[in-house]
Symmetry: D2
Subunit: 391 residues, 4 copies
């Protein structure tokens, strides 16, 4: 029995189609929904809708669900549709009439929003931690190899001298800004939607400050229409901030794919990181870097999906948006996997000092040569032309 | 042991990351790879690389794999990485030295391309069949309700009279053009890549016409570099042709979401097709239509993913593109599910003749009124102004 | 006075915002609208709405507009909004009452659709011609340099021997398939929308076959709702077919950016094709290739703009779609410019035989070596391992 | 003569293709480049590369250019390529040898970055101001009509009571968060790239803090590789923050398109805001809202253009990115125009209290009815079912 079900049943084909993978995905949300339900039950006690005995029984059973879930023993069936229904059904089964009261003053819509938002907050902090781990590894790379110079490129052409330090610090600085953006987004989404119900509030005086504080939200998201409309927007902002991170990994991987080519070999991947070819005995392929590079496009397309899916629709919840759940969960997995694997690469990669040195050919110093003339008093534009003629 | 493996092993984390879900996805390709391997083995026999006994043994075992696979008993392990490796490992296990000969004159790259292309061809025909089923249902809808007039809209404003027939035929005609495009794309991709190896051919005289004919391809894809480069392009063209189909479903669903609103109710969904709300007892929601509408954006984002993933890369295979396998498989599922569910809706939807009639208000006939004046000899532009003033 | 205007005037800010650049863009459509208007006037004569004298006067003035337009003397003012209004206003000014009759039995909507479709047909043929020019230049490149071998790459790593011929033919074959797709799309869109009015036909017996034949369309687009809904779809299909073309240019440019690096220099750009740096005297940058590469992403984004803009909307015209006009016109310009410039590059590029030869290092022949063992009877998988160990 | 030109000239076709519209677009950047050049000249004076007399002459001429530009009299020719060249050419023409010294210790690359970033900062503040204007207008709407209730929708179905106040505040709250994000992005990009040259610094001790402070940047962007790589990222973050704003306008316009339908008419657009049809005398179309809605998709596609264009490329400047200049400038125009026009609508729109009241039908109160039972002690889930049965 679903939360919204009355007499009639849903066509089986339609049920399969509409439920989709929700009942599987929601495993990730059981914990968060229980937290929100506990806060909600306590609030209902505080405003006198539930007795303190009812509150205790409900919170105990919700704690039980959390424990079951930890042991992977809380099951969501396809007929349950999602974790919210499964949890309410469990409470009704355990507590009878009391279970039927948990849904007072809320809608599944704000349950979904609240559980997702708590989940997002944890995941964003995860990502931020993985960023920091990568920054440490890059700093270690600098300690080991930072002094080694190799060519800097513009237009995929040798330009001026670069170095392992310069290259690594570019990623570090970029990751710092990524983290700033991530934290800004985290702060913006850190609003409690609990109590906005289906987007138009509930006809009961509830204490939204209480649940917001209890759940650790920075503030209450006051406007219930905005609570619904913000789902697409917050998803999009999260994906954009993840996109900025994996853009850096895309670029760094692109660098390393070129810089580890045998023709250059400024960097060398560990043997156990490269893959071969089924036909060409000699091949040592950087598949791992190519897949990180490719993952950027997955995230990018996911961001586009959410942003196009949510457009041209009037205010208020639409089922369309439910599809974003999997998209968001996949995105966090892709980002965290990519950060961890890229971190593994940075932690083990070797710099080939000899090859770097060989590559530092004279044209890289043409600008320096021009500046030597500048320091003898020749205007830069003249100096530039003098050196250009010599090349 | 993977097809490309020599001594050294792959880092476990990297293996997990690079293999991804391939070993699961490839269940769909076992059958096609076996077909291609049989054709390949026979060709090797024909050009004298294999004896006819070897060919027989190989094709027998490949047939066995097909049988196992039908019973869902052919397992691809994560260490196998993909179906191609699993199949070769099976052959070596069963046939020893003979198994080691199956990979002569081919690369895993052309195996992947060939298996995928055979799979695509079957799926495209599936889609085409589902289009035809929907066209039939729409024709049935016309038979039942076609004569009923309801308002036609422009700018989401009542414009001129429309009808169930006109509306249904718009979808039918659009689906006919979708099918034309699908067939054009099918024809373009119907080229055998088998024998292009890793993108630069094989240093052996092989008979590519033989395998192409045997596998039912329209022609040989001659150029091996193009064989590789065409993967992204063909994937993109398939996705575009699927996108055109689901665009129609997105629009028709958007129509029905509006036309089934209680305020209009030109159409009525079966009770067993609507879902309710967990908080609002009265709600009857068209989730099923919203999800079809939303699926359009999944396909759109997948198309964008492939098209952006494959760009800015030089010729030749890159591992990036392997990620498109899941994207393509998911897309076929989404399209076919959406077509079938939309077909179910069209087969069961009711037209409310009374509500349609009520909605045929006078302003819908303003153009007709103007044309009555035109037929009395008044220039259209004058007639238009006369009628406009009256409204 | 706009075609739809009655008494009240449009707010000036709103007019500026809604007209946008239409009055400028429509210069490209004056000719096509005149052709369509001539066909329309003749048809009105044929069915007795206009006298033959009226038809003659209208067609004469429309021919005059075509002549004025050729000399760039037909002006569309911002108050005219678009070419359709400007043309009707001109006819009314010249012919008085007769001019007011030209709009009988049509809507601006089908004028826009018809003019655009005629314009698209011409532009698609243009593109096809530019494809053919490029194929010729590639064939000339093969004649001159085709025999020269250089390394083929997979995973951006040397793989097996390639050659100028193989590389050029990959582009030629791909362009042939592009042309097939383009022609398929051209055939699908080659339907006359004239007579579908605002999407629900006209309350008059008109002869749509006559105008379709007169304008050179393959067939009549029967269903008026589909005529409107197909705009987004046909725009999208055109953009997809253009996208396939510029994908090839993106890849070929990516190849050439790498292959012209001084470290490889298999190919050399003419001096007058490279640009320099304002600070680094030595730089010779392939900006021209980079911009062709980048243009791919413009087309890609335009395709997704149309595809996302048109979604989640009910059937029938929406003003949203008017924005696609500029997008389509820009796209044709980008494609044609890119094809012409890439053709110029291919016509002038040099192949450095010496550098190519130097790059043909032994690992490229590892597969060939393995096949020598195969021909001595060693199973391929063994041969592969023997050679791998030697490397 | 371009900044990078030596002896040889650029092929005319290639010049036209590579310069594109830069020479026109750069009108918007002349002012900012002059500011940056003045700061740069003063810094060169401070570190002893220029004499104070040279600095004075240069800054005077740069001030002259600013004045000329204000009067629209500073011309950038196509041969100049961009504003940076035009400005240096002007200085050389006016000051001879001294003019040739202005380019000391910088590259055109950091000029472009610096000018763009100053321009972005101003434009972002513009956007923020336009957001605030809209918030005021919404507050006025609340003052006038806020108390009026009309139906709230979920799944495009009547759900629970909403009101003008609730609806308006949803936009206001969303715009507040948009502004927070905008300001976060503004803070992140507020880093001075001046002095990073072509991405690898300059071989001179320059005072980057001085120029950064002088130009009003929050801080110096230390790493020169990151300065280059951040261009795509910062552009993308700006576009994302603009996207969030226009997403709200897309949704609010979608609401108003439905809510102004004659069948609902909760809101009414001013007569001078609606457009008509050329064939249907009765039509009053909300083109202005449709175009705002459509503009969302322009911004969305622009964001994806930048994000896909910049991917799969190694570190360092590529000419590809130059194409983003027009994209960014167009985006600011679209956002500001859309905000201003939407503000005009909100400032003039009428609420039809009578129609709103009529629409407040009983099913909107089903949830309230259920809660009346809850307050009589019936568990919510029971109350829900009791009410559902009555409907």
């Amino acid at each position: 029995m679903k939360l919204w079900q009355k007499e009639n049943t849903l066509n089986k084909e339609v049920e399969k189609f509409t439920v989709g993978e929700d009942y599987l995905l929601d495993k990730k949300l059981v914990y968060y929904d229980c937290l929100a339900s506990i806060a909600h039950a306590e609030m209902l006690g505080k405003i006198g809708i539930l007795t303190s005995d009812e509150v205790n029984k409900l919170t105990n059973e919700l704690q039980n669900i959390i424990e079951l879930d930890k042991k992977d023993e809380f099951v969501i069936k396809i007929e349950d549709e999602d974790c919210h229904t499964a949890i309410e059904n469990y409470l009704v089964k355990q507590l009878g009439e009391i279970g039927k009261k948990i849904h007072t003053a809320r809608s599944r819509n704000d349950q979904v929003l609240t559980a997702l938002r708590l989940y997002y907050k944890d995941e964003l902090i995860n990502v931020s931690n993985n960023i920091n781990t990568l920054k440490s590894s890059l700093n270690n790379l600098i300690k080991k190899y930072g002094h080694i110079a190799f060519p800097g490129y513009t237009h995929t052409r040798k330009a001026m001298p670069s170095s392992v330090k310069l290259w690594s610090n570019a990623i570090i600085d970029s990751m710092k800004d990524n983290d700033l953006l991530l934290k800004s987004v985290l702060k913006i989404i850190d609003q409690s939607p609990l109590g906005t119900a289906a987007g138009y509030g509930v006809p009961l005086k509830i204490d939204r400050d209480y649940t917001a504080k209890k759940l650790g939200f920075l503030k209450v998201q006051e406007n219930p229409i905005y609570a619904q409309n913000s789902r697409v927007k917050f998803d999009a902002s999260i994906l954009h901030s993840l996109n900025q991170i994996i853009f850096d990994l895309n670029k760094a991987s692109s660098d390393l794919i070129i810089f580890t080519m045998p023709s250059f070999e400024y960097f060398q991947l560990e043997k156990e990181f490269v893959t071969g070819s089924s036909i060409m005995p000699q091949k040592q392929n950087p598949d791992v870097l190519e897949l990180i590079r490719a993952n950027y496009h997955k995230i990018l397309s996911y961001e586009f999906q959410i942003k196009s899916m949510g457009a041209n629709l009037i205010s208020g919840y639409h089922r369309d948006i439910q599809l974003s759940k999997k998209t968001m969960m996949d995105s966090f997995k892709i980002i965290n996997d990519s950060l961890l694997i890229f971190n593994l690469i940075i932690s083990t990669i070797k710099v080939n000092e000899k090859k770097c040195k060989q590559a530092m050919t004279s044209e890289l110093f043409a600008t320096e040569d021009a500046y030597k003339l500048v320091q003898q008093g020749i205007p830069f534009r003249e100096a530039y032309k003098i050196i250009a003629k010599k090349l």
